[in-house]
Symmetry: C2
Subunit: 383 residues, 2 copies
Amino acid sequence: MKSICGVEGVTAAGMKEGRYGLALVAASGTSAAVFTSNRVKAAPLILMKERIALGELDGIIVNSGCANAYTGEKGIQDAALMSGIGADAFRTDPERVGVASTGIIGRYLDLDLIGKQARQVAPRVRRDPAAEVEAARAIMTTDLVEKHALVRGDGFSVGGICKGSGMIAPNMGTVIALLYTDAEVTAGGLQRALRLATRRSFNRVVVDGDMSTNDIAICTATGKAGKVAAAAFRAALEECARSLAIQIARDGEGATKLIEMVVRRARTEKGASEIARTVVESPLLKTAVYGEDPNWGRVLAAAGRAGVEFDPDHVSLFIGAGEERTPLLEKGKIVADLARAKAAMKGKEVRFELDLGQGKEEATAWGCDLTEKYIEINGRYTT
Amino acid sequence: MKSICGVEGVTAAGMKEGRYGLALVAASGTSAAVFTSNRVKAAPLILMKERIALGELDGIIVNSGCANAYTGEKGIQDAALMSGIGADAFRTDPERVGVASTGIIGRYLDLDLIGKQARQVAPRVRRDPAAEVEAARAIMTTDLVEKHALVRGDGFSVGGICKGSGMIAPNMGTVIALLYTDAEVTAGGLQRALRLATRRSFNRVVVDGDMSTNDIAICTATGKAGKVAAAAFRAALEECARSLAIQIARDGEGATKLIEMVVRRARTEKGASEIARTVVESPLLKTAVYGEDPNWGRVLAAAGRAGVEFDPDHVSLFIGAGEERTPLLEKGKIVADLARAKAAMKGKEVRFELDLGQGKEEATAWGCDLTEKYIEINGRYTT
């Protein structure tokens, strides 16, 4: 087991026909969700915002191929009907079913297809390694690889699957993350932990800076493992979410390299995070990483426009990790050995570390390089 | 005359050797400047911020090839020395000379070269069509074309040249805009007019969302045409700046199409502007325009993440201008004729108009499509 089926009380199944996929994940327990902050919200999110207030779910139904976004009142009714299809599968009330969609914006759900697929998938909902793979594949759109994470805590587990290959893929959308734990957590505690974990993981991944209308992360706590230390649970949830988030960045559309941007010694975590995100979002930095060009000026130029106060003369910048960590700037002085810096850009992961020298907080963001393939995926192949 | 030499009291000259260019523009009068809001500011900007407080200049010296950015105390001293070179050319005090630089970040100015070039250029400072072309060419970096604008007001003129081909070009940087008028304007009035014009022009152009460490716009009013109506002057300055800004977007790195995004009936101009900028900055919209894909969902998805409140159900969206203006959404209802919409994307200019239906304010932003060529310019050819 490498993700959700590693958690007590979680069963799953899924299928995919062409671009149309359906996943069913059954897990009864306390549930929390966080949503895209995009003002244009897809119908299933509008429904889920209300529904999650109850704090309890028995399962989640997810379709790929159609985002059910920008579909007005009918879209919300369709999302409710889709949760009814899930309710039949899970033998529960529609109010206890979570629903999420990913795919093309501005089209209505094909509820006949979703109903037919759900009836095929429902009898196969089970707990084994193949089941979690099926579910992870069913929710993929332009993703090239499935994404799984499982974190073992002291007597409990947190597992998750997600999809996402760009904040928005071509016509397709969305990060969808389904997280599960067998720890016993209150609804309020789960909501706070999920919000924090999301802020430090999915919200720090930038593929293209575009934010989906359909982004959603849902966590259900089955309670099978009983009560656990709150701090240990929060740490495990964050680690699980971070692992999934990094997998999204690595699988970014057209990406050849993962970019990790660490900002240290900032006054606030928020400030550190703003800078880290702005840097990994910079098209100039992304193209420089693609070209393995140690053009560190682009890190500073992006950091400078993040809207966070810092003194450029107190800043240190490093490239690489561990023994290969190479200084580029030390307290504002240029010390870059460009040959070593270039060598640090050769691998599949490029890491920058910016020390602001002003406080004690830090944050990390993840992104990927920008390549011709991104243009091809999003521009050359038209709808 | 098509730009600065069309303004009474302005003379110019310039030269370029490989990537190293030098422009001298002589014009005595009331002066104002606006600067990048990037926290990392190039040395010439730090010098100019102080100097412009005097409100008077006799001329401006600009070099291309080296940005004199991230060069610490020495950089500021070098900028002062460069203004001394300009002072020799203009036979005035260094305090009355404006200075700007564009090019590679993190390198010191070659003052010997700049001095030698200035001595060659100074005797040729004059008022004719070839002179303004020389000056406009001298400040270019990755720009493919020079940028000129001249607006004739009632008894006065406003002319300008600028450079910029991306907020930052590969290693290169910067929008530099030199604006001149023969209208008589107070220093305070000029500063306010320039700030407003910049906000509505250069600040609404996005090529890649990256903001330079060296952006500067300077305006000198020679006063040769005497006093003019304040509103007429502000309108002419804005028109001149807008013309230059659109030329920058059109000449964006790798661009094949200009994107114009109009946001109407917003509650505030600031809100309209945030949305317009966010849309033209969206890599997904930019690649869709490149691929002539009428994927209007991307306009809405980008608008929704601009941080501005609006009701998606009240929004109308159009593509194209004049008789070819085609509705895509009407008050939240999808009415798109995708064949007509696709036809509207065929030309060199693609225009979207988003009606928020909530107020009376509007704003326009300009950008360009994102193509493989951008990646090639910024990634494949390394330093």
